[in-house]
Symmetry: C2
Subunit: 192 residues, 2 copies
């Protein structure tokens, strides 16, 4: 049973605020794909907008160009091996969901393939075409139109990652197959 | 004694690969400033280029517009309180380095203020002017022209964050004064 619940759009950018490694899914004309992406960030809270680097030579970018949309999936620590595998093969060699034995669900607004098993959040995005930055920096801007999260990890607009749920912490890619998951909380107060 | 050593430019983007929260420093005509920034990412390895969101209303953006350059500082877990404080006050109300009692060093190429006490890496950047994305998304693109890191945390082009050095792990901002530091390593191998 999925523990996913909708995330209010004004909280969607918080899903990427702390720099997790993500997966990107796309679909167009009966073809779908999945890739890993270490480089993404929010650029605005309201409306919720994000930037993500997607190499212009990839099948994912080809499908985004055709459809104008994509989804971002946030994997948990339990999904690190599949995340790395998704980044190691090309969808041009066959459907990656099948090769990785992944069962996809459908996003609520765009119907894009999303993953709720061992992943902790997703958001569906509409590309905001910016041909110059897509060409010069492989950087795509997009607006989030729907989002949902595993309520154990994110609810009420906030992440809940503590010692009680290490398996549902986000992962952060250092390179060469090595991820780190988020560990301890540090609560701060400004002296001002 | 500083433990900082130069980072080869082809490895500089790896400093931001995993989404740490950073500080941004600027200086122009005798004025300097420091701000916290949760939203940044690499966009290219060679040449090393990054994107970072800097609100157009800030003193930092004003100084970047005037100078065409800025530095990115990566704080360690030990620097979380100062990072939050830097994000809670404005440089328009007085020099933040003085108010936070920070001793700045000088970057090696641009001479920008950098921090080596309780911070673990820095990079000096030249702005690549992109007026549209700066205006529409507060997103600045820049090329890294020098970088250095605490050799306990990053050397040979790789991060070294494990159970032996939790105080020098990077921090990742969740919002509302709450950071998390990186915790456990997850080593993966692709099945393909």
């Amino acid at each position: 049973m999925s523990r996913f619940e909708p995330v209010a759009l004004e909280h969607a950018s918080r899903l990427l605020n702390h720099g997790p490694t993500v997966l990107v899914t796309t679909a167009f004309a009966g073809q779908r794909n999945l890739m890993a992406a270490a480089w993404s960030m929010p650029v605005e809270f309201t409306p919720p907008r994000i930037a993500i680097v997607i190499d212009k030579s990839t099948l994912t970018k080809e499908l985004i160009n055709a459809s104008g949309q994509f989804a971002i999936i946030i994997p948990s620590a339990e999904f690190a091996t599949q995340t790395y595998a998704a980044g190691s093969i090309s969808g041009r060699d066959g459907d990656k969901f099948d090769r990785l034995q992944l069962q996809a669900q459908q996003g609520s607004v765009l119907g894009l393939p999303v993953l709720e098993d061992a992943c902790i959040a997703w958001m569906e995005c509409r590309l905001i075409p910016e041909s110059h930055t897509e060409k010069a920096y492989d950087t795509c801007f997009a607006e989030v139109v729907s989002a949902a999260a595993d309520s154990r990890a994110f609810s009420g607009g906030h992440w809940h990652m503590d010692a009680s749920n290490p398996a549902t912490h986000t992962i952060h890619y250092l390179g060469a197959g090595l991820f780190m998951s988020l560990g301890g909380q540090i609560t701060t107060q400004s002296p001002f």
